[in-house]
């Protein structure tokens, strides 16, 4: 079963606006990762946040983690058309000895010029 669930399923914004995507998960985690997938391509790692961290920044990306609510959010500021992609959260699967990730179903982001 899927561990992470992203919300919304799809998001359409204009260039320059901020985009916020949310991820909820079910069990305790060690870390949570966000990935981007451009159409027809493989996933690319964006950022990782550990369970003892509450917020992390990387360029125009800001990730928050609330372990009490079992949720995370990814904020992309000042969006560009090139940010158009699907975004996935993934959690480390402790049942595999931390060897594997469980991915959510993703949020499709469309940024219009």
């Amino acid at each position: 079963s899927q561990q992470g669930e992203e919300d919304p399923q799809a998001l359409s914004i204009q260039e320059g606006e901020n985009a916020t995507m949310n991820c909820s998960y079910k069990t305790s985690i060690n870390n949570l990762q966000w990935y981007r997938q451009n159409s027809g391509r493989g996933l690319v790692h964006l950022i990782l946040i550990r369970s003892n961290e509450r917020e992390k920044h990387s360029g125009r990306l800001r990730v928050t983690l609330d372990t009490s609510k079992k949720s995370s959010s990814l904020l992309i500021t000042a969006s560009r058309a090139a940010d158009t992609a699907s975004y996935f959260c993934a959690t480390v699967n402790m049942n595999s000895g931390y060897s594997t990730l469980t991915f959510g179903k993703g949020t499709m982001l469309l940024v219009s010029p």
């Binding site: 870390n31 990762q33 996933l43 990782l48 480390v92 060897s99 594997t100 990730l101 469980t102 991915f103």
Partner: protein
Amino acid sequence: NAGVTQTPKFRVLKTGQSMTLLCAQDMNHEYMYWYRQDPGMGLRLIHYSVGEGTTAKGEVPDGYNVSRLKKQNFLLGLESAAPSQTSVYFCASRWTGLGQPQHFGDGTRLSIL
């Protein structure tokens, strides 16, 4: 460096045929993974390997076999293809260590008629 390379990029099979998908990585990664991606389902783990000569089952292993005879290669086999195996298959690899990001290939698009 090429990163993670998947061969072939596209394939059409008839029900009952067999084939092998090849994944090659040039980053000397210990861990390798095979996923399938279906519309609305996100990525689901088929099999994975934590080192040369080792393999383990993921979330959806039925109908697939894998081998990791060389550290840089991870092969996914379909012994008797079924229409339900029509999907996009992704390979990924990563370094050992908790929190290391996965690096993905660009996928193999497989249709079973």
